[in-house]
Subunit: 232 residues, 2 copies
């Protein structure tokens, strides 16, 4: 049976991806992988653990913090910048196409490479998929260049070649927008109440940062309410 | 001026690559990057530092040890396996084509991704090359799949796309064998006396492991003596 290492950030997209992998391969063949990379808070890691527990999966956590020590990305606790309270679409409309301040330098390349290393360590002679929940809205306007279909195709080829064709990259949400991602997840009964997306580390989600705005809209587009608590 | 981050392991190939980058771009535009990844000894890191000092370059060291915690690769201090005293060519002749026991799971993908992250952190709006000293003998017989031209082409595309076309991968030795690498380095006056390749951590190089055998042969093919000390 093919194995799977699913990148899990504790958010809506990657949790949907976890559910898809479990649905396709069975929980005995799936593990999740999260990263510390110097993010402003670790609430997302707690969510990733809860989701692994929900599905009965082994959950690995790698620490990449030192790699980003020289970056001033606004998502990092070391940065003086703070994430903006504006949707990605509005940021792109204001600033033009290209990198947003929450782009962490080549983070997805690093995370996928680390996942390939884990796959080849746990299953040196077996086929293993790496699943990532990158979706079309992430790559729109080139906000996150390392979320695009073209990026994942190239990384996928590099991963196949570099692992003797044993590890394959899966990005099943890469051509869906966030509303479509949520639609897939609702069909699979994803426990979205356990997820965390907000860039702030408050007790409740802020409802104002780019990722809160986008997830609220995605649930609304599906005619249902986001099950997590938001600040008033 | 274009910048360069050169992967430097302190060995013959990557040190040749450092010399080529300095020769092309000038030392003010070049930095080197080494990795702790749980290798059996850190003599190669001391050599990498000496080489950076020789050329007057800033030298960065990232620690990826925890990523390889689940691997039993014979190059890792955590493994019960030990590197063999046999050339790669002889290992391939005995075992057939494919992975050798010193293959570290997707290490080059991780190192290149970390270099891309460093490049985008140090020079977020500038063009920067990542230089890697992978050469043809590494990829021969698919001993190290993550050293092949095809691998580097795919990683190079992923790195370009994921960094908004600012970071480009250079593998100038990828079609040369080790004797040709040394020939290039001799022309540039590379301080090979400062390098370290041996998989063992002795005071002198062992002369018997795959990498000692290969470097001794490469100098011999150029009609000169390897300037480092070997055990009797």
């Amino acid at each position: 049976m093919v194995k799977a290492v699913v990148l899990s950030s504790g958010g809506v997209d990657s949790t949907t991806c976890v559910a898809m992998a479990v649905n396709e391969l069975g929980s005995a063949n799936v593990v999740t992988l999260s990263f510390k990379y110097g993010q402003r808070h670790e609430k997302e890691l707690e969510s990733a653990q809860k989701i692994a527990d929900f599905y009965g999966l082994a959950h690995y956590v790698y620490d990449l913090t030192s790699i980003f020590a020289y970056s001033d990305c606004s998502l990092l606790s070391s940065s003086k910048e703070k994430p903006e309270h504006m949707s990605y679409a509005d940021q792109i409309a204001r600033d033009g196409e290209g990198k947003v301040s929450t782009y962490v330098p080549f983070r997805n390349g690093l995370m996928l490479s680390a996942a390939a290393a884990l796959a080849q360590s746990l299953y040196p002679e077996e086929e293993c998929g790496i699943w990532i929940g990158a979706h079309a809205d992430d790559a729109a306007g080139n906000a996150y260049a390392d979320c695009s279909v073209a990026f994942n195709e190239s990384m996928g080829r590099a991963i196949s070649i570099g692992t003797y064709e044993l590890v394959k990259l899966h990005a099943p949400l890469n051509r869906l927008n966030k509303a479509q991602v949520v639609a897939e997840g609702l069909k699979l009964g994803v426990p979205y109440d356990l997820t965390w997306s907000c860039y702030e580390g408050g007790e409740k989600a802020c409802g104002k940062c780019a990722t809160c705005i986008d997830r609220l809209a995605a649930f609304r587009a599906n005619g249902c309410e986001d099950p997590i608590d938001y600040e008033d």
